[in-house]
């Protein structure tokens, strides 16, 4: 109980101290505000002659940098200018890109119709040449090694045919060699 009473006393004292501190602080603050409001700067006034001089200087400087026109100053027209530039860029860049592609075939002659495999291979070849080889190289090489490259597929077919032929020949020999030997006998 005694301890509780003592802590209460201490607490009350602290609150009183804080209140006092706050009051003194606010008093100081008030006095500062009062002097800020009442005291005026006693510096020299800006005289009429100085005003004239300032106006002349500004007129002189304005002649060097003419005032920006209201149309360009307006925020909306700025946005309009930016939008117009974007539209022009969007139109012009693909146009030039398209032209650069057609320069390969300036007469616009129809190219001969190619087989599926050939056309795929050519498309991929072009893509690999145009685009980043790191990105498309892996895909293209995989594609060429398995599907599109006619040479590779042809070789595979020949190999398969060879294996079939050897099978046929071996079975042929297996069947007809005994017959031939009996005939000779």
């Amino acid at each position: 109980m005694k301890l509780l009473r003592e802590t209460k006393k201490l607490f009350c004292r602290e609150v009183r101290f804080k209140k006092g501190k706050k009051m003194s602080q606010s008093f100081d603050d008030n006095s500062i505000i009062k002097s800020l409001k009442t005291e005026r700067l006693n510096g020299p006034d800006f005289t009429n002659a100085q005003k004239e001089q300032l106006a002349k200087i500004i007129q002189g400087k304005v002649a060097q940098h003419p005032r920006e026109s209201s149309k360009i100053q307006n925020g909306v027209s700025h946005h309009f200018l930016i939008a117009a530039l974007l539209v022009i860029c969007a139109g012009v860049i693909p146009f030039f890109l398209g032209n650069s592609q057609t320069t390969n075939n300036p007469l616009g002659e129809a190219e001969p119709v190619q087989t599926n495999n050939d056309s795929h291979a050519k498309v991929f070849q072009e893509m690999v040449e145009k685009w980043d080889p790191d990105v498309l190289g892996g895909v293209a090489s995989q594609f060429f090694s398995t599907k599109a490259n006619p040479l590779v597929s042809f070789n595979n077919e020949i190999e398969a045919l060879n294996s079939v032929r050897t099978d046929i020949l071996s079975s042929f020999y297996a069947e007809f060699q005994p017959l031939a030997s009996t005939e000779q006998n």
Partner: protein, 190 residues
Amino acid sequence: MNFETDNSIVNRIRNGHSEDFKLLIDRYSDRIYKFIYAKSNIRNDIDDILQETFLKAFLHLNKYDEKYQFSTWLFTIAYREMCRFVLNQKNKSHLNIELLEPIVVSKTEKSNSGIWQSAAKLNVTFYTLLWLKYHEELEVKEIAAIMKSSVPMVKVNLFRARKQLKKIIESNNNEVVTRNEEIVLSRSSI
């Protein structure tokens, strides 16, 4: 007496009567001059900031939004010019300190009242806040528009500025007391 509003003058200037800008100079140059004068110690710089403020006001008059007072807009430019000037001064001081010694306004010429002389020692933001609130007696809302800040932030910064000002005044008083003590001691020794 026929008192023309700022907005009507601004509209006339916008319509090509540039010579009417002199009317705005007459109206506001004194207030802007005092605002800069209290903070800066160098006369050339005061003139430069003042000229730049009015020049920018004239060149960018089309950007002025009529929902604010013209004085608010002008003080915004002046505050920014002052910030820019302080920043340049800091950069210059890194390069060459000797360049920062041009014509200093003499002590007799610069007879600021005590509190504003102390306030000039605050940073530009705090000084501007105190000036606009207590010297120009602007609303907190207007000050927030000038400082590009929120109303609560302006109030908090005003409190901080006063607190710092109090510290400056106290340190000044301590200096005065120690100086007086030194004088008394020196006299007694004589």
